[in-house]
């Protein structure tokens, strides 16, 4: 039987779909007590990895375990791990309550649990409505309710914010954080760092099926160097003063400002005063995780700017 540790361990996981390598030698672990973000652009192999972890896709190589066991050795998996996956279906003619009762029976929990999780996700009033009439957001909530039926120790969610309105996303964020604080394991995938930035404590960033970064989100933040953007009366005078003070990383921006790395705004302002240069504007650049995320994951399916290749433009937001 499983060890009850709540640990997810992915080791050298590889999946080949014919000639396509979806996941390549991926390794990371997810610990209980925190929300871990599983990030990467669309097509990076996130869904395939999660489905291998859940026993739905057979790995070509490597292992993926929950509580020290592969999924099919968990005994009663519904009580160990709950999952919300993309393209997880519902029978349109079945009511939300009946849908949950089907799986409550499969997991072996009382029917009352169905109504309890419906209330938990805010679908209590829609319990007897057929799922075919549900909005995407309601289906997403019902999928979460299904995942919670067995009161699992581990929660795996693939792009759970899809279809949720801002209110729903805020609710989900609070819910997942409190779930993790109960000492449980939460793994949540997304292709947008910004979407989960406020939710997750740890991140696993993958690109082209490989791990690019794996660790606490704070560590990722610290790895990003801060910059001071300053608009002086005399660019050359300030740049010389900065160089004289030992600051090397100075860059002139197209808008006429200087971007200075490795110092804070106070040092820049003091040096400007000494050099007799006026400062018309100064700001410390916000830590831009999104840019770092792009740097880590760039290259795969990169689009072109419309001006460069007007007829090739395909989702070129990167």
């Amino acid at each position: 039987m499983h060890d009850g540790s709540g640990l997810i361990a992915v080791q050298n996981l590889t999946k080949q779909f014919g000639p396509v390598t979806a996941v390549q030698n991926l390794s990371f672990t997810v610990s209980p007590g925190s929300v871990t973000g599983f990030l990467g652009p669309n097509g990076a192999g996130k869904t395939t990895t999660l489905r291998m972890l859940l026993g739905l896709v057979k790995p070509t190589g490597g292992t993926a375990t929950i509580n020290g066991r592969p999924f099919h050795q968990l005994g009663q998996p519904g009580r160990v791990v709950g999952a919300v996956l993309e393209a997880q279906g519902f029978h349109p003619a079945r009511s939300a309550r009946n849908h949950l009762r089907v799986y409550a029976s499969a997991i072996g929990v009382p029917d009352a649990q169905a109504d309890q999780v419906l209330g938990l996700v805010g679908l209590g009033s829609a319990a007897d409505r057929k799922v075919g009439g549900f909005s995407l957001g309601m289906k997403q909530r019902l999928a979460l309710a299904t995942a919670l039926l067995g009161d699992p120790q581990v929660l795996v969610l693939d792009e759970p914010a899809n279809g949720l309105d801002p209110e729903g996303i805020a609710w989900l964020r609070t819910f997942l954080q409190s779930y993790a604080r109960m000492g449980r394991t939460v793994l949540i995938s997304s292709h947008l760092l910004a979407e989960v930035e406020q939710t997750v404590d740890q991140v696993v960033i993958i690109s082209r099926g490989q791990t690019m970064f794996y660790g606490p989100l704070d560590q990722l933040r610290q790895s990003q160097q801060r910059r001071v953007l300053v608009q002086p009366s005399d660019i050359n005078a300030l740049a010389n003063a900065l160089r004289a003070a030992g600051v090397q990383m100075i860059e002139q921006l197209p808008d006429g400002r200087l971007a200075v790395s490795g110092v804070d705004s106070r040092q820049v302002a003091d040096l400007a005063l000494q050099a007799g240069v006026s400062i018309y504007g100064i700001q410390e650049e916000q830590i831009d995780l999104e840019r770092l995320f792009f740097q880590l994951t760039s290259g795969q399916y990169a689009g072109y700017a419309p001006a460069q290749a007007p007829f090739k433009q395909q989702g070129g937001w990167a």
């Binding site: 009663q76 999952a83 029978h91 003619a93 009762r101 499969a106 072996g108």
Partner: protein, 293 residues
């Protein structure tokens, strides 16, 4: 309740929480009733014709007067064969429907293994096969009794025997459907394949085998064996109330009952169970190794 009991309960709930079971049961009942009524009417017509005098020789063969011929048996065997197409379709949608609607993901996430999930499903569909079989027999019986003279109806033992093979036939056809639905994970594909095979392909093959004078092979084919299960019982019951019957006439009777070339009813049942097992094993193998993406 153990693990398996939980899964069987879940599969049962899946079938009772949508309208498919009665949506298919209604045409099944209508078809059985219609065949029952037609069986009585045709039987009556045939008996009247046979009693008209010109065909006395036949009645001499059979050793009883035409008004005592239990002709309803043939129509009833045919009615069971046709009506069990519906429980077979019901079974075919068990797994293919879940794959098409992607509910199979949640099913596999909540079961200890895929084998557990498929076995639980098979058990529930065996139960549904029995329910369909009883419904077929009920409506078929009502139809036949309304339009038949008592002389053409089977006795109590005959009714019991027909009910048994009707329920068995329905269970086996449902199981066969479940297997094909696992093998062809597409609802329309599975149903069309089953209908074309049972209605067209095998009937053509039967014709060819009869022409080649190897009719015994028919009894070992899927449709041939399942028809043999009911047809052989019908012929046996008919002959048990008739006198000594020449082999040529018996062959004709078998053909009328839809059991040309068929083995004994129990052997036919075992042969078809084998086919259902082969198909299910294939469907299981496909489902077991399938990547659910």
């Amino acid at each position: 309740m153990g693990l398996m009991g939980n899964l069987v309960g879940a599969e049962l709930r899946k079938t009772t929480t949508t309208g498919l079971w009665w949506g298919l049961l209604i045409p099944t009942a209508v078809l059985a009733l219609g065949w029952g009524l037609a069986t009585g009417l045709l039987g009556q017509f045939f008996v009247d014709f046979a009693s008209s005098g010109d065909v006395d020789e036949v009645s001499d063969f059979l050793g009883v007067t035409p008004d005592q011929w239990k002709v309803s048996l043939f129509g009833m065997a045919r009615a069971i064969n046709i009506s069990t197409i519906f429980p077979m379709i019901f079974g075919a949608m068990a797994i293919s429907g879940e794959i098409s609607r992607r509910t199979i993901t949640t099913t596999f996430l909540t079961a200890p293994s895929r084998m557990h999930a498929l076995l639980a499903k098979m058990l529930v569909y065996v139960l549904w096969g029995a329910i369909y079989g009883l419904a077929i027999m009920l409506f078929l019986g009502i139809g036949v009794v309304i339009t038949s003279d008592s002389g053409q109806l089977p006795d109590a033992g005959g009714w019991a025997m027909l009910t048994l093979v009707c329920v068995l036939s329905s269970i086996l056809m449902t199981m066969f459907g479940v297997g094909v639905g696992a093998l062809v994970p597409n609802v329309a594909g599975a149903i069309v394949l089953l209908l074309i095979y049972f209605v067209v392909i095998e009937n053509v093959v039967h014709g060819v085998l009869a022409y080649l004078q190897v009719p015994a092979v028919i009894g070992f084919l899927p449709n041939g064996s399942i028809n043999g299960l009911t047809g052989s019982v019908a012929v046996d019951l008919f002959l048990s109330s008739a006198g000594v019957v020449p082999t040529e006439i018996e062959d004709v009777l078998r053909a009328i009952a839809g059991a040309a070339g068929a083995q004994d009813w129990w052997l036919s049942g075992i042969v078809f169970l084998g086919w259902a097992g082969v198909v299910f094993a294939g469907g299981w193998a496909v489902t077991q190794s399938k990547d659910i993406t």
